[in-house]
Amino acid sequence: MTFIGNNAASNSGEPLRNPYLPFPMRVERTFVETSDRMLKSFDLAFMDKTDEAGFRFQPGQFCEVSLLGKGEAPLGIASSPTEKPLLRFTVNRAGVVTRGLHHLEEGDEVGIRGPLGNSYPMDRFQGKNVVIIGGGFAFTTLRSLVVFMLDHKNRKKFKEITVIYGARAPGLLLYKEEMAQWERREDVNLYVTVDKGDEDWNGREGFVPEVVEEVGPSSVDAYAVICGPPIMIKFTFPKLADLAFSPERIYTSLERRMKCGVGKCGRCNIGPLYVCKDGPVFSYAELEELPKDY
């Protein structure tokens, strides 16, 4: 992709980056994650090295992934900044854009706009135990978070790391390679579960809320991050409350219909906050202050 365009002048006279123009990216690798083929990961590389140098993100952030002619989809960044230059997105085939993205092959071009949104509060997590709970394909930004924390430069900043991840069936688990690696590590407690196993599955069977209760992570000096389908969150949240996690110690990442990604088009607001700009990461304490408009 080549860009021909003018940029607006800011007050200081320097050109401003147009927030609606995507960075051109090349698809380096595609990988079908799940047995139902609904989830596919794409590893992207910047076509312009200056774009790459300027792209600095934190776990939890997302990009508007742009397929010219079809539109954009807001997708959580699944790779960690520690994995640069890798930039991975895991796409659920659900609508017009994601259907189009699924047809991409290695060498194809896409665009991304970002990094957008806020990130998981790493500064708060430092020196603390972190419990990460994910369900289904909501695990994308949690992968970014776990890989970041487990990176050798970062691991000692955090105390005990517990990951509880569940899917409906073994074939629907994401990031099987990563999970296998984490299984072998001593410095992370991984609990993978499925709602219902198959004949090859020797792992745990059980819903995520039940596993959370079984594992019973301590809430002392701890933070929890929970991402998953509404039903999973609905039943897991009380388990965390039972374990004495208070609302300001539990974080989640919200989804909304998004378009501009920079808090201007007006649609993703919850009260005065925009999920694209002031979120998508919120603590439950913050959510309690907001209107129930989600």
Binding site: I4, G5, L68, G263, C265, N269
Partner: protein
């Protein structure tokens, strides 16, 4: 600096402006007055209150190309379209609409993110305001920090004296237009007449909304049954949002024609059912109840919470044009009575 522009000099003034600038203002559109570009001074309808469409279109058009793209097989070329072209003059704009532009600036020209399409047009526009000698009954600008003669945001400000206009220069941009103006220094008498007109205009405001305490009242009303009944007669069209000078919601889509196309943005409305519909099928605002609540809460609570200003300028368009006469003044009264 104040100049007097006699009546017979108004047309030559606008004619000269038209030679160097694009001029937009209130114009006759079918049977009513709306807002658009003029090619001759006679098209301006300066004594009308208030144009059906708001001048916000000058910076935030209803439909705008963000960039065009062309795939040539080997690569894709993307051409962004931020350049607004010629400098434009908004001529005869009411103080409410000028204030609305200042509120839109808070959204599009914010510290964390700048919208070049809006900003370029805004920077390239000179605002010639026109005071409202006779506010209509649906105007309530003073209730929301405005006024029929508020000069806030104008580069030049005109007062209709009957036999011409008092023209005040309020900014550097405004000063640029002086060379086109063939008028003398305003006399003391002109200035006194202008003041009298201003006083009478202020007294001519008959609608009031109680802005004090409104935000706090709404804070507690998120789950109130009030919204269950308010939305009943609302049709769920987009008239109030589209004609509102402070509404800024938009959608972005790709319009593709085989190997080329454009990414456009166009106005969208929180009153439409698709506005917040998620791909999963979940819609946080599934019925008119949630959607009308969003509109009221956004204008009078959420926006205020973030920007310390009510996102309403009291122009009255939503009142005049709502097909079912859903009147924001009555709504606010009812909110206070809750």
């Amino acid at each position: 600096m104040m100049k007097k522009l006699p009546e017979e000099k108004v047309t030559p003034f606008v004619e000269k402006l038209l030679k160097d600038y694009e001029v937009l203002g209130p114009i006759q559109t079918a049977g009513f007055v709306s807002f658009g570009r003029i090619t001759s001074p006679g098209e301006l309808k300066l004594n009308h209150q208030n144009s059906t469409k708001a001048p916000k279109e000058a910076f935030f058009p209803q439909w705008e190309v963000l960039f065009r793209y062309r795939s040539t097989g080997q690569s894709v070329e993307v051409q962004s379209t931020e350049d607004p072209g010629r400098t434009r003059i908004l001529f005869g704009i009411r103080p409410c609409d000028i204030r609305a532009a200042l509120l839109l600036d808070l959204v599009f020209d914010s510290l964390d993110s700048k919208d070049p399409y809006y900003i370029n047009k805004r920077k390239g526009t000179i605002v010639v305001g026109l005071g409202c000698n006779h506010p209509v009954s649906t105007c309530f600008c003073p209730s929301v920090n405005g006024g029929p003669f508020s000069r806030e945001g104008a580069d030049l400000f005109m007062t209709d004296l009957g036999d011409g206009y008092l023209v005040e220069v309020l900014s550097r941009k405004g000063r640029k237009l002086l060379q086109y103006l063939n008028g003398k220094e305003a006399s003391e008498e002109d200035k006194e007449r202008a003041m009298a007109i201003e006083d009478s205009a202020a007294r001519g405001i008959s609608s009031v909304i109680e802005a004090d305490g409104l935000m706090e009242k709404l804070e507690k009303m998120m789950e109130a049954p009030f919204w269950d009944f308010l939305h009943e007669k609302c049709l769920g069209c987009g008239i109030c949002t589209y004609l509102c000078p402070t509404c800024h919601c938009f959608d972005i889509a790709d319009e593709a024609f085989d190997l080329r196309g454009q990414r456009v943005r166009y106005w969208d409305s929180c009153q439409f059912p698709l506005f917040t519909l998620e791909t999963s099928g979940h819609n946080p605002r599934p019925t008119g109840r949630e959607r009308i609540r969003q509109r009221i809460m956004h204008k009078f609570n959420y926006f205020f919470s973030t920007h310390k200003a009510i996102a309403c300028v009291g122009c009255g368009r939503c009142i005049i044009h709502c097909p079912v006469n859903l009147d924001i003044r009555r709504v606010i009264d009812d909110i206070h009575r809750e």
